[in-house]
Symmetry: C2
Subunit: 410 residues, 2 copies
Amino acid sequence: MKGSVLIGQSGGPTSVINASLAGIIEEALQNPLVTNVYGLLNGIDGLLEHRIIDLAVESKETLSLLKTTPSSILGSSRFKLDDYKINDKVYKKIVEIFTKLDIKFFFFIGGNDSMDTCNKISQYFKNIAFECNVIGVPKTIDNDLVYTDHAPGYGSSIKYIATTIAEIYQDIECYKKGKVTIVEIMGRDAGWLTAGSKLASLSNNGPDLIYLPEIPFDLEDFLHKVKIIYEKKGHALIALSEGIKDKNKNYILTYRQFNSCDNFGHLQLGGVGQVIAEAINKKLNLPIRSIELNIPQRCSSHIASLTDINEAYHCGKKALQYATLNFTGKMVSIKRVSTYPYKVKYELVDLSSVANKVKAVPMHFISSDGCNITNDFIEYALPLIQKEPKIVYTNGMPTFAKLKKQKINL
Amino acid sequence: MKGSVLIGQSGGPTSVINASLAGIIEEALQNPLVTNVYGLLNGIDGLLEHRIIDLAVESKETLSLLKTTPSSILGSSRFKLDDYKINDKVYKKIVEIFTKLDIKFFFFIGGNDSMDTCNKISQYFKNIAFECNVIGVPKTIDNDLVYTDHAPGYGSSIKYIATTIAEIYQDIECYKKGKVTIVEIMGRDAGWLTAGSKLASLSNNGPDLIYLPEIPFDLEDFLHKVKIIYEKKGHALIALSEGIKDKNKNYILTYRQFNSCDNFGHLQLGGVGQVIAEAINKKLNLPIRSIELNIPQRCSSHIASLTDINEAYHCGKKALQYATLNFTGKMVSIKRVSTYPYKVKYELVDLSSVANKVKAVPMHFISSDGCNITNDFIEYALPLIQKEPKIVYTNGMPTFAKLKKQKINL
């Protein structure tokens, strides 16, 4: 099968999602079965608005810069596709556009939700016998995709988190009587990112306590532990997942005492650090500081992991290779061959087995007291943050790729 | 005059305060007038507890690593010295210890408060004709020290801020309908750090609006501007100083509507971003996100400016040179010789003229509408963030210097 390539990005961005894009484009440009290489702006939303660009016109320099450019350069969307058995309007539109542009290879770079979209499109194509191979390319800082050792994007996020935790620890340590410092880390349902803070312990700058959503959070026990640490050290550093819950599965965020008089109707989850800070301040009367790492966790490409960038890039390349070998309805997955030395290979898994599932942090990565992380995790995660990319600086700041965005007329 | 060197650090840490320490030590080790090189742990607090260490035992490798190790490695303190005319108890203790250790050259690396301490000690020494030269070495991320073109520490902070703003902009731009994103930046009394966010505009990723404490903040006018920007672009990025005030000089932070029912007695200033976010959400009904850059602004040495590191280092070296040339009661200051090409020299200013003063951002750095920054500022600040240090990575994270902390018996 010969034809055009179309690539889209979806869901929350990462530091390396554009490295996967670069991998697909570079592989496509040298594959004789590929006639054109197109990019889809803002995912399915953009498709419905005919916002498709030519990616074959981009320079080698731009493609190279994509590897260190954060955020989804094609634009993202959170479009939820209906089941085609209920409503096939959007599907018909997709087929119409794909036919016009002779799209034979479709790639969607995204997380669990995006793999669901990818799966639905692939199923529909099969059902109507429409010839187009659909391959999902994994990305998510959350690392909660199933059937892959880890997800591209995760390594760079925890390199940022571990580095930042180590720097913060260095900072708070400089006063004899310092503060209790809370660092709130992303991850609503799974604690992978928060666990990453543990890597800072390799430079003796790790958090004193680490709490993930996987383990019920007990405020009284927590306060007791904080008191002991502070009395001994004069400071304490605590890494908290934004998604920690109590034993009744209530988010600790809902303990917010000022909930009644503020009205952050549309605010994101976040702020649990402040709730905990308030509790420490009120109940232990200790000086506190709460730091929310926020979106720099997913876009700090200046401290990205080169291992992660390379893997994201290869996931893209492999996706193109598999699609032209006539695979469809699959996601590229990373399989760890060995940890010492660290070696991976790229396989395929069924999109249907990945879509909408969440992989929690396994119990052997969490210490038995529920407030720290084990060496098993360190062994798992450490290879993912190794090596640094060469960042191109302009004016003292990292240079980002800018696409020509040459529109395709439909 | 021949004798021992004693070095202390004080006030809030920076990414490059240890580079100044390295500069003093390296220069001291090769100066024939210096008999010993001592470090003071936790500033004046540590002095009173006889916590003094030998710095001459540190390896070349450690001294080199100091240049990229954030936070005050000797430990800091916020000790406020009484006027010696009111209470000279601490001063007598200082003289007693300095006599025992034959301290003839005393260096204090710090900001305005620390220069006040330095000035008081120097005045006291003069008054009792105690032979010891006292030199202050500037550092502050706030850049509010007078009589110096800029302060070591500032360049690295705004390199971090500009890079992070550029990355955040890249991130928020990826959705067609995104959020209004507030980035809260340090600086209670002066807007130097917040102004630094403007540098991201050189990569077209700068904030849409920038507010400093120097200009009264008008909430209604602000909301009006945000609405227009959001309607046009589908997102907006706003950089806010934590210290913005209204025309009656009330901190905007005090507009916090839930002040009555929470009780953050000991909390730091911070959180104005949330107040503004709430206002946008309630009054404009727009989706918002508030990001507080917090202490990574002063400790993200992995993205430090090499220009800043080198200047901090040279301030240290020059301090030692001047002290051994018998200068005392002075602070090393950076004088800009030219901007194209960027060139500085190191001079001395009287400690008494620097102590406790605050340098505001001048009006020609702020746009006439009060919500943006001019090219004059860019011209001033851009040289300060140029070049990157070679970071030594261990386990995929930056390596920090660790001192032997070999205690001196008194």
